[in-house]
């Protein structure tokens, strides 16, 4: 039985979990997909990437998110410093120890200086690997940004075409955009479900289903996600008297699932930024005449703030005020990866707004490789206690 036949017969959540855990170190599922279908593999790190471009050229775009503590950082210790986030060190370890060799191309974008330099030292250690570094525009309020990004996507396409063996076809790109719009729509529906009725879908299940979306071929994933969500919506589970918490800061380094489970004992984590990349642009306008320009606009005109992408027209303090109101938030948890400077600066900007609104919040640092969560559990319990038994 081929990989895809086996996957088609599998229970959605079981498949999502298996492919997620396989992506911590081995990516053996993607390797088998490449052998059986002859397709190409593109790995992108770690937040945002225009997936439809790669898909329409026959690539399976895969989100590489570090090894979550499942690999020893031996070569990373030699090549990087300890005051750098763990996801960048474990991603370097994966590349240096050959776990990414079967990827035909690796793509990075300008989310922070660490990820930028990481792309350079991976290229130096893997000279024959195609490494593409996309500079995504940050001056998105001005017209030139769109022309620039259009040309920059052109440079990406120039690099991928020789590997895929065919030229980019605009109709193929339009079809890919339609498929990915459906994926993003389903992921958005799951996000709303977590916001409205978090008791129906525990964090682990939500996380596996969300992450699998950037590991499986989009055709297979969309089908599995439809059946998974309809099953979840039919569940009948009791709502507990727990506070509703907004989690900010986990947009890049992956928090350990046992950490999130330990905190979910004390509160509903109704919204967080894990695997924010795919959910972030929402929809690409399929009516746009030129599908590539549609992809460009979906990026430059998106006014939802994201720590790893600046936009002159966004007011981050106003946005967090709206988020707290719309999602009926009781408290905010700043879950910040150790040594993640961008997240630490947004924390100061946002906490100033929360202080003015008298909304309780607390900051916790984490690392992907952590194995003990007592402090996190105790902190969330205290937060809940002070609100419920206030």
């Amino acid at each position: 039985m081929t990989l895809l036949e086996d996957a088609a017969s599998r229970e959605p959540l079981e498949l999502f979990r298996e492919v997620t855990e396989d992506s911590y170190v081995d990516f053996s599922w993607q390797r088998r997909w490449k052998e059986e279908t002859g397709g190409r593999l593109l790995g992108y790190f770690p937040v945002y990437f225009p997936e439809p471009i790669a898909h329409s050229l026959g690539f399976l775009p895969v989100n590489i998110l570090g090894a979550s503590g499942y690999i020893e950082l031996e070569k990373a210790t030699a090549h990087t410093q300890s005051f750098v986030c763990s996801i960048s060190r474990s991603t370097f370890e994966l590349a240096a120890t050959g776990h990414l060799d079967h990827f035909d191309a690796l793509a990075f974008t300008n989310i922070c200086d660490v990820a930028r330099n990481l792309s350079g030292i991976i290229k130096r250690n893997k000279p024959d690997k195609t490494v593409v570094y996309l500079h995504m525009p940050i001056n998105n309020a001005v017209a030139p940004a769109k022309d620039y990004l259009y040309a920059e996507y052109g440079r990406l396409i120039e690099k991928l075409e020789p590997i895929s063996g065919r030229k980019l076809d605009m109709e193929a790109l339009r079809r890919s955009i339609a498929l990915y719009n459906e994926k993003w729509e389903l992921q958005h529906r799951m996000e709303q479900l977590r916001i409205e009725r978090p008791w129906l879908l525990p964090y682990d299940e939500y996380y596996y289903a969300l992450r699998a979306g950037q590991l499986l071929p989009v055709e297979l994933y969309v089908e599995k996600m439809r059946s998974f969500l309809s099953e979840v919506e039919k569940r009948d589970r009791k709502q507990q008297d727990k506070i509703r918490v907004l989690v900010l800061g986990d947009f890049c380094e992956q928090p350990a699932l046992p950490l999130m489970r330990a905190m979910e004992d004390a509160a509903y984590l109704v919204y967080d930024e894990a695997i924010i990349g795919p959910r972030w642009i929402g929809r690409v306008n399929e009516a746009e005449e030129d599908p590539l320009m549609a992809l460009v606009k979906a990026y430059t005109d998106n006014l939802r703030p994201l720590t790893t992408r600046y936009h002159p027209l966004i007011d981050k303090q106003q946005h967090i005020a709206e988020l707290v109101k719309d999602l009926r938030i009781d408290a905010v948890l700043f879950l910040v990866p150790k040594f993640c400077e961008p997240a630490l600066y947004d924390f100061v900007i946002r906490k100033l707004a929360l202080d003015r609104m008298h909304v309780p919040y607390v900051k916790l640092e984490y690392e992907e490789s952590e194995s003990t969560f007592e402090n996190a559990r105790m902190t969330l319990e205290t937060l809940a206690e002070s609100i419920i038994f206030g």
């Binding site: 030699a78 990087t80 989310i111 001056n139 630490l344 924390f347």
Partner: protein, 435 residues
């Protein structure tokens, strides 16, 4: 101690305390006078109610702001000067009390804590005004963005954005796509029109060309001064002294005084070379330096190298203000030359190009080894420097890795630093047969 083994003669306290004779060290005196005048002028302008702009050292927009007669304050520069004068620690603690983490860059912490609402603006350098506008030239350091956002939310300063793409093509060195230069040029014109409305001054390309002529002249002499590090022995320390000389090419570039200064500097170094004068009594070791210096203990740290009669011949940190070895200003195409200048800031070059530049310095400046100073605050510089060490070990180039911070005094421990530096020179002496 009685018997001083021959090995120890390589190290001497006299060298550690050595000062270049006064008549060969006027450039640094003139430089500190001009810097003090610059700070006085800025404070005076603010007192008169003029609009103050905050600017960044990498991709420094000084020529454009001179056009509209807007005084520029560089938080990176006032932070390093406060730290150099020993005033950084209270700013670190004040920033951390406001919620900044120990992992945040100490430039940002002192830059934000020195001015209202957290600080008062009074600093060891005199009064530093807060920003009315902040020109964000995102080149080489992502934290620039987050830093300027802090000023926006704390002080309400209006941000003018110039997004400068990274030099990022790993297949073709120094390749800058056409759409990058056009994107930066378009944004420059956009900022110029905004500044016209803000100040009521009309944009004049003719005046910009005139400013750029002074800039180009200062730039070429700055390059001539640095390239004297190729001489054996070198008349200047291409790292520790170059960092002093670097202040004016950032703070006051674009006027006749600055152009004259760098001509004066070249003459002085010429006179030093002819008189056989240098930063140390003799030249025993020639080193290339990678990384930001330690400002809080600058002189003590420098003496750990001087003690071994070691001289910096070239450094990458002075190229943060523009890779002067590679890029030259062309006043005839003002907007385009400014765009290209902004792209070629050292940290905007990718890691392969940075490694090649260091290798070029080792060869062209005939260095004995490389010193990599990794600093906890700056991941843009430091992330991946371990990979540089592997690269140089592979080419049999002796490389020392040491670590502290550039502004926060709490990360400098002299015993550990001295231990590693002495061990490096012990093995370097063996290698050069100086046993």
């Amino acid at each position: 101690m009685s018997a001083t083994a021959k090995g120890r003669a390589l190290m001497s306290e006299e060298a550690a305390q050595y000062r270049v004779p006064k008549e060969y060290n006027q450039a640094v005196v003139l430089q500190s006078q001009l810097v003090r005048k610059y700070f006085e002028d800025v404070a005076a302008a603010a007192a008169k109610g003029k609009k103050i702009a905050y600017g960044l050292v990498e991709a420094n927009p000084i020529e454009i702001l001179r056009l509209f007669d807007i005084p520029v304050v560089y938080p990176e520069v006032f932070s390093l000067q406060i730290s150099y004068k020993g005033g950084a620690l209270p700013l670190m603690l004040a920033a951390e009390n406001e919620g900044y983490s120990t992992d945040c860059c100490s430039y940002v912490k002192s830059g934000v804590a020195a001015i209202p609402p957290i600080g008062t603006g009074q600093t060891p350098l005199g009064y530093v005004p807060k920003p009315d506008i902040a020109v964000l030239t995102y080149s080489g350091c992502q934290i620039y963005i987050h830093w300027w956002e802090q000023y926006h939310y704390w002080t309400g300063a209006k941000i003018f954005t110039i997004d400068i793409p990274y030099v990022r093509d790993y297949e073709r060195d120094h390749y800058v796509p056409r759409h990058d230069v056009r994107y930066v040029a378009d944004q420059l014109m956009n900022v110029i029109s905004q500044l016209e409305q803000l100040t009521g001054i009309r944009y004049s390309e003719e005046k910009l060309r005139e400013i750029l002529t002074y800039t180009a002249d200062a730039w070429d002499h700055w390059r001539m001064a640095l390239e004297m590090g190729k001489r054996v022995p070198t008349p200047l320390d291409g790292y520790f002294e170059a960092i002093y000389y670097m202040s004016l090419i950032t703070l006051t570039r674009g006027d006749k005084t600055t152009a004259d200064y760098y001509r004066f500097l070249v003459d002085e170094l010429q006179r030093r070379a002819e008189a056989g004068i240098g930063p140390t009594p003799e030249e025993q070791f020639r080193l290339v330096f990678e990384g930001v210096p330690n400002y809080p203990y600058y002189k003590d740290w420098w003496s750990l190298f001087k003690r071994w009669n070691a001289r910096g011949v070239a450094g990458t940190y002075p190229k943060v203000a523009g890779v002067v070895d590679y890029f030259r200003f062309n006043p005839d195409k003002p907007i385009e030359t400014i765009a290209e200048y902004m792209i070629h800031a050292y940290c905007n070059w990718n890691m392969l190009m940075r490694a090649d530049l260091l290798k070029y310095y080792v060869d062209a400046y005939k260095a004995d080894g490389v010193v990599i100073h990794s600093i906890k605050s700056c991941r843009s510089f430091s992330m991946g420097q371990g990979d540089f060490k592997e690269y140089f070990v592979g080419m049999n180039i002796p490389t020392l890795m040491i670590e502290s911070d550039h502004v926060d005094p709490r990360y400098y421990s002299e015993a550990q630093m001295r231990n590693r530096i002495d061990a490096f020179f012990e093995s370097l002496a063996l290698r050069k047969g100086l046993k």
